[in-house]
Amino acid sequence: MKPFARPVALAIALLLGGTVAGCGTNDAGSPAGSGGSPASTAGASATLSGTLTVFAAASLTGTFTQLATDFEAAHPGAKVSLSFDGSSTLATQIIAGAPADVFASADTKNMTKVVNANLIAGKPVTFATNRLEIAVPPANPANITSFADLARPGVKVVVCAAQVPCGAAARADEASAGVTVKPVSEELNVTSVLGKVIAGEADAGLVYVTDVHGAGGKVKGVPVNIPRATVNSYPIAGVSSSKRSPLAAAFIAFVTGAQGQAVLKDAGFGAP
């Protein structure tokens, strides 16, 4: 296959060329982070500059967007780049080498995965808690007033699948309340549950208190009135491979500090 030898070599050359070019752009984007703070100390906020990449659980979308803006205002020269997704997706991405500086998870399980991969600097800190609430359409067509109502025949209930944190919490709450819910759908994430309730497809959905809060008037919340309701802890930590650890530490301190806690409380999160 002589005629193919040269094209293949050309193809490989193109591939390599693309890789090198890719590295080039990455480097060009980051000198502010490494070179911009030669004498940075954790306390001196004036020298904290560069772009900080924060991977945060999807349920933190509203609060962390707000916190990032506030943090940037407090540290001119610092920029926070946010990536929101399910905690397990983010954990998988970080383990696969995604360039995160800070990881904020919606549960301890996924944080532990990253800790076990030796990718967390120091110890994760719990910065918020969350619990489930029943979301119903504003008109509450099935007249849901208590957790036990979810088990009524004919009521269309949507929950998270047991494999994701909100589903695990829902199962735990069912077990401790002695209620068996037969859902019409077990969604892959909490946003999908909320979406089904907002669309009026479901009579009720088990979501987080903060989701009901964030949906404004599109859904109504009915408290999960059971003893020993599941409480989810949200841990945050710096990623050990980060080149901007002072900035990461400053951001974590900001989230766990008074200003950050106030924003989280406003969104319905519980204190750690």
Binding site: R6, P7, V8, A11, T92, Q163, E186, E187, L188, S192
Partner: protein
């Protein structure tokens, strides 16, 4: 396959070959990367668990149903688009192809706000006691929505290249339109029809976003293989990878068994559409 009696022009510029190699690698390397991560000792156990089998069976069933639905709705649509002449034809074609460009999640939302309980049509259906959301029917509808353009596009192209000479001859011999369609047009475009149906089946098999948004996710009812993969990824990446490979294998087998590349047209120039004149002379274009 070899036709030594026909001279064919086959020379391809080398730089085109180089780019083609890159293109093929771009698709094949990720597959190899995934195959390298498969936990082979547990592979059979992973893909034959109850939830995996329920998802695979549901996927095959719904994809087959949506392919039938695509044929029923897509063949007439392709014929009207290729043969008809009416105001708004170009707009209709653009709209029919819309599911190709909108994200499937958007398609799912559109279906939800149309056939859902609070939707445009769903409200009336709900009153009549018909509930589509969260049912297997919803899965089939979501798949048909995203797969239909593949069939229409493929068949319309074949219809246009096939031309209308034979149809015109049949009509002059007294065949009624339905007879022409059944005896001339459809046999003529059968390869395009088959490849369109295969594409539609493959697209249905891989459907994720619209299904998730419109149908929900419940084992054995609406949780198809792609949804099961996404869910397994949360707790058991090994199972997710094994199922992904299974999905690829099923799709590859179906496509390989039925899909034929369009035949080369090397001996005769393209049929001039809408002429019932003498057949073109047998001459290779220089």
């Amino acid at each position: 396959m070899a036709r030594p009696d026909v001279w064919e022009f086959r020379a391809v510029p080398r730089w085109i070959v180089a780019l083609a190699v890159l293109g093929a690698l771009f698709i094949l390397l990720p597959l190899a990367g995934m195959a390298a991560r498969v936990n082979w000792p547990d592979f059979v156990a992973l893909v034959t668990s109850d939830s995996s089998r329920a998802a695979l069976f549901l996927s095959l069933r719904t994809a087959a149903a949506s392919t039938v639905l695509c044929l029923l709705l897509g063949v007439p649509l392709a014929i009207v688009l290729a043969r008809g002449s009416f105001p708004g034809q170009r707009l209709l074609r653009a709209l029919v192809l819309l599911p190709l460009v909108v994200p499937p999640v958007v398609g799912g939302l559109a279906l939800l706000y149309t056939f859902g309980r609070e939707g445009l049509i769903g409200r009336a259906l709900d009153v009549a006691g018909v509930s589509i959301a969260f049912s297997t029917t919803a899965v089939v509808m979501a798949q048909t929505f995203v797969a239909l353009p593949f069939l229409v596009l493929s068949l319309e192209g074949t219809l246009r290249t096939a031309g209308q000479r034979y149809e015109a001859v049949a009509a002059t011999l007294g065949a009624r339109p339905t007879v022409v369609l059944r005896r001339v047009t459809l046999p003529l475009v059968l390869p395009g029809l088959v490849s369109g149906a295969v594409l539609a089946f493959a697209r249905s098999l891989g459907e994720f976003g619209a299904t998730l948004t419109f149908a929900g996710s419940l084992e054995g009812v609406t949780r198809t293989l792609p949804l099961e993969i996404y869910l397994q990824r949360e707790i058991d990446p090994d199972a997710a990878i094994a199922l992904s490979l299974l999905l690829i294998a099923v799709a590859a087998v179906v496509v390989a068994l039925t899909y034929r590349a369009p035949r080369r047209r090397h001996t005769r120039p393209k049929g001039r559409p809408a002429t019932a004149g003498p057949p073109p002379r047998e001459a290779a274009t220089p």
